[in-house]
């Protein structure tokens, strides 16, 4: 690799200027916009809106679990519908869409120094198909029989049988159609993100100079393009099972004393397809979080990220490994013990690159100039939460420990910590960090700190006790936990306590949403680079960035993204597009 730090050694431009579509009307500027930044905001707003629905559903579930028998309208059927829709919305329609469609669209072109995504028209279609998928999903709430109550994993045969809410009504079909649409829409966007990162970077921006945010989103997108096909196929096949009466996943079944028409299919096949998607999906959500949190920590600790290249390889390594661990979700499916052995081994190997990342975050903080800004608070909260959630992952990755813990509240607590709370904390941190770039104003500090402390402590008060009652043997997915021998008096109290905490954390999110809206007008003026950060999105001529991002001339990149507190430099940060050499940078040669 050649050092091109001297200002006179700028590589010649290989990528020609991008042809941009210039909007002619309000409609093409704000609604049918081809600008990735507008599309990002559309994605984020839609994801947040549907995420609110999922939040309300979680309250309804907690109402039922914490105070059984008090709320008549939460029937067992309704409870299953809430649980299913809450899970599916949170994992796919909120987290995936927000990280890739929202942050991906906003940050990739700005951070790699491109004017826009490479194919803005396809990018626009991606959003509108996503919106359609969300609308189909929402419509299932109003369909006869209501939404599906099959559990978010949609396991057949129960998913399409009479006993499951929505199984023989519209619910499951609308869910499957919505997922198929989501995958089509996502593919259109995902192709854009990947090609933009690979082929449309600005001069001087080698892949090994990309901010880790882009590395995280990029790797997650590649994974999504390879993992979603399995879900797509599973959805198509189950749709046929339900609508045409085929038997891909349906074995011979007697239902209510009657032999069904189905026979000869393999329910385990669905589990394999689902988890071949489902496990990479965990990292599709986690990798962008890893990337973003690295940048937040480096910026707010005023210190270069520790072991940049190791961080990149860890991201890529986790991405590759996550395709060979899927059956650790299926230890109780009756698989051969040798398979269990294989998948437990690969699962534990993933702990190595993940631990590298955690150590590097901590070493980045070590002796840094830590500013306890709100993004930094969320980043620190993420590290502890991710470690906590990850440690219970070691329990569940081992077959002998997993089998007794399977389908208990312990599992619920584990995955909420590691792929619910942890990525959401990063999303919040990232919103506090980039909101000034998107709107030109800072979010309100007092409301932000309130939001942080209630969310962070509240999440622990919800999920730590849940581990405990899970270890006692309290099962998940039961709508009523009274009259069970494992539910002692104290466990009941704990359960009600969890519910009350859940409402409080939910309330804090309302404060956050209010803050988002209030600060657009009343927030403090931010200026172009309030965090004194190095990456390109903070160096745009306008804030918020205009169409085309960088004005007349695209920036030229002379250094990596982590030149903070370089010894010998005047300022404690050197933007990536600043020519010349200052002091002794720690950029890997």
């Amino acid at each position: 690799m050649v050092d091109i730090t001297p200002a006179d050694a700028v590589p010649p431009a290989e990528v020609a200027e991008m042809e941009l579509y210039h909007p002619h009307s309000w409609w093409t500027k704000y609604v049918f916009s081809q600008d990735a930044k507008v599309i990002a905001i559309q994605y984020s707003a839609t994801a947040t809106a549907i995420g609110l629905v999922a939040l309300v559903l979680s309250w309804l579930m907690r109402l039922q679990l914490g105070f059984p028998g008090t709320f008549d309208f939460i029937t067992p059927e309704a409870y299953y519908q809430f649980i299913t829709m809450h899970g599916m919305i949170m994992v796919i329609y909120l987290l995936t869409a927000l990280f890739l469609g929202g942050f991906g669209n906003y940050l990739i072109p700005l951070m790699v120094g491109a004017r826009d995504m490479v194919f803005p028209y396809v990018n626009m279609l991606s959003y509108w198909i996503y919106l359609l998928a969300v609308l189909v999903l929402v419509s299932s709430f109003f369909a006869p029989g209501g939404p599906t109550g099959a559990g978010w994993t949609l396991y057949p045969p129960q998913a399409i049988m009479t006993g499951t809410p929505g199984g023989q009504d519209w619910g499951i079909m609308l869910m499957l159609i919505s997922l198929i649409l989501f995958i089509i829409g996502f593919t259109m966007g995902g192709l854009n993100y990947v090609v933009t990162v690979l082929q449309a970077r600005t001069r001087g921006m080698t892949l090994m100079r990309l901010p880790l945010t882009v590395w995280g989103i990029f790797t997650a997108t590649v994974m999504a393009l390879l993992a979603f096909p399995a879900l797509f196929v599973a959805c198509v096949m189950m749709l046929f099972d339900r609508a045409l009466g085929t038997s891909f996943f349906m074995p011979a079944i007697v239902e209510m004393g009657e032999q069904l028409q189905h026979g000869g299919g393999s329910p385990i096949l669905f589990q394999h397809l689902f988890w071949f998607f489902g496990h990479p999906e965990v990292y599709i959500v986690a990798l962008p979080a890893f990337g973003i949190v690295s940048d937040l920590i480096s910026t707010h600790a005023r210190k270069n990220i520790f072991g940049y290249r190791m961080m990149v390889w860890a991201i890529v390594g986790i991405g590759a490994l996550s395709f060979v661990v899927w059956a650790h979700h299926m230890y109780v499916s009756g698989m051969h013990p040798y398979f269990g052995f294989f998948f437990a081994t690969t699962t534990l190997i993933i702990a190595v690159p993940t631990a590298i990342k955690v150590y590097n975050w901590v070493l980045t903080l070590w002796r840094g100039d830590i500013h306890l800004t709100i993004p930094m608070l969320f980043a620190l909260a993420f590290i502890v939460t991710f470690v906590n959630g990850g440690l219970t992952g070691l329990f569940l990755g081992n077959v002998v420990v997993d089998v007794p813990l399977s389908d208990t509240m312990f599992v619920v607590a584990h995955f909420h910590m590691v792929m619910g709370v942890a990525p959401i904390l990063v999303i919040f941190g990232a919103i506090y960090h980039w909101y000034p770039k998107v709107t030109g104003r800072m979010l309100n500090e007092a409301m932000g700190r309130f939001h942080f402390w209630v969310t962070f402590l509240g999440a622990y008060l919800i999920f730590f006790p849940m581990h405990y009652i899970g270890l006692m043997g309290v099962p998940r997915r039961y709508n009523e936990l009274t009259d069970m021998t494992v539910m002692t008096e104290s466990a009941h109290h704990l359960n009600s306590f969890i519910s009350i905490m859940a409402f409080m954390v939910g309330f804090a999110q309302m404060v956050f949403l209010f803050n988002l809206i209030w600060s657009i007008r009343h927030g403090r003026e931010a200026g172009g680079n309030p965090w004194r950060a190095t990456t390109l999105e903070w160096q745009t001529p306008q804030t918020p960035p205009a169409h085309g991002n960088f004005g007349k001339e695209l920036p030229i990149v002379y250094r990596w993204a982590y030149d903070y507190s370089v010894p010998g430099a005047k300022e404690d940060f050197i933007p990536q597009n600043m020519p010349g050499s200052f002091g002794s940078s720690r950029e890997p040669a």
Binding site: L198, A200, L269
Partner: protein, 240 residues
């Protein structure tokens, strides 16, 4: 769109040897693949994703074929045509395969003439490709009709495992859809070539971007892929 095909690839820089050199090449400045345009890169990555879809379909079909307890119908008998007093196994499929593979040949020739900016020959060869593709879909429709009249349904058939019909209609249907979409786009691109859009730089109707003769090649990538997938379907569904 902008001409992102090879213009210059930067000065040749000294690269470290071995794996580090591979990493340095991949992560090199501005573009990972030096003479690949955005459109072509996007098509390749899409095809990779699509490979996973067809791969999942075929693996699922094999799994259900093994999981079902009822015997699988014999493909050489099911897909035989009664011609001239005797049953010829797989004759229609053989002709279909021949037609589709020939269409890859005409497509390759169209790409060649496209890069020579020979509008007439490119357009004619693309239309010929589309015609062969349409023939393929037509023969598939004939095959579907024949099986349906013999009583094959997605949920059952007279000869054995119900999964035979389900997998058959699903996989050939999904592939046929790919071919049909390809035929439509072949006609659209052929029209653009014929009209000289790629010479005059006429902006696209939806994207408002200028097209280039490279689009013929990108179209060809898709077409060859659909062709290649058929070979696997042929091998795993009809010959197994």
């Amino acid at each position: 769109m902008a001409d992102t095909t090879l213009t210059h690839i930067g000065q040749t820089q000294p690269r470290p040897a071995g794996l580090q050199g591979v990493a340095a090449d991949w992560s090199s400045d501005q573009r990972a693949f030096k003479n690949v345009s955005w459109g072509k890169a996007m098509m390749w990555i899409f095809l990779l994703s699509d490979t996973f879809i067809f791969g999942c379909f075929l693996l699922s079909y094999m799994t259900t074929r093994m999981s079902t307890r009822v015997p699988w119908p014999n493909p050489s008998e099911v897909f035989a045509l009664h011609i001239g007093g005797s049953d010829i196994p797989l004759i229609l499929i053989a002709i279909m395969t021949f037609v589709l593979i020939s269409s890859s040949g005409t497509m390759a020739m169209a790409v060649n003439f496209g890069y020579r900016h020979d509008r007439r020959k490119t357009a004619i060869l693309m239309l010929l490709t589309a015609a062969l593709g349409a023939t393929f879909v037509g023969m598939q429709a004939f095959e579907w009709t024949k099986l349906i009249t013999e009583g094959v349904r997605p949920w059952g058939n007279p000869w054995g495992a119900a999964q035979f019909g389900s997998s058959f209609f699903m996989i050939t249907g999904f592939h046929g859809t790919h071919v049909t979409i390809g035929v439509i786009f072949l006609i659209i691109v052929a029209r653009k070539v014929w009209r000289g859009d790629y010479d005059t730089g006429r902006p696209g109707f939806f994207t408002s971007r200028k097209g280039r003769y490279e689009n013929v090649e990108i179209m060809g990538l898709y077409w060859h892929f659909v062709d290649l997938v058929w070979v696997f379907i042929f091998a795993f569904f009809y010959l197994w």
